[in-house]
Subunit: 107 residues, 2 copies
């Protein structure tokens, strides 16, 4: 499974509630995107800095999203899809800054 985590920051011009609404629209749109096995987007609630190890002082963030793909062929199908392209166009309307993190299993 290919899994990509995204950190999202809203545009300065957008309120948290406007951003949350666009996240809901983006989630609804995701269900029609071909070859996207699963999509999640969650809002950031708290970013506590009282960690038990050294705090990594980054942020604030507004949302954390994740995309799942069954394999590389499905990911390529997703990239080529016009519906996926429309979905990314919607992303441009409410994502101010984006940090993608491609992950792999520990085992």
């Amino acid at each position: 499974m290919i899994r990509i985590v995204y950190l999202l920051v809203r545009p300065e011009s957008m309120t948290p509630s406007e951003f949350a609404e666009e996240c809901r629209v983006h989630y609804d749109m995701s269900r029609k995107v071909p070859a996207l096995y699963k999509y999640e987007v969650r809002l950031v609630d708290q970013e506590p800095s009282d960690t038990h190890v050294a705090y990594l002082d980054i942020g604030p963030f507004d949302a954390v999203a994740e995309c799942w793909f069954e394999n590389r062929d499905k990911y390529d199908e997703y990239l080529a899809s016009d519906i996926r392209k429309e979905w990314f166009e919607h992303g441009k309307t409410f994502i101010g800054q984006l940090k993608p993190i491609y992950t792999r299993e520990i085992h």
Copy 2:
């Protein structure tokens, strides 16, 4: 469900393979931690900067982890647990810097 995402950076003194091994140990230890509904830790594979919106220039990271709790009572039980405390002590041996992000559902 309470879900907390963590971004992890390894200590400068630790190689990627040593860090990966400690992530595996940490995952194995997680299975005995009371009231922890689910735990995942994944290694960072790629951090591409060619995003379709403005790139959020942070990182690099070494792992992304996530903790799930069924509710606040379970989370408090987890916090009070000696096994959880031992787990955090292990965390101190291989996590150089840590960024916690408490998330909430969009709906």
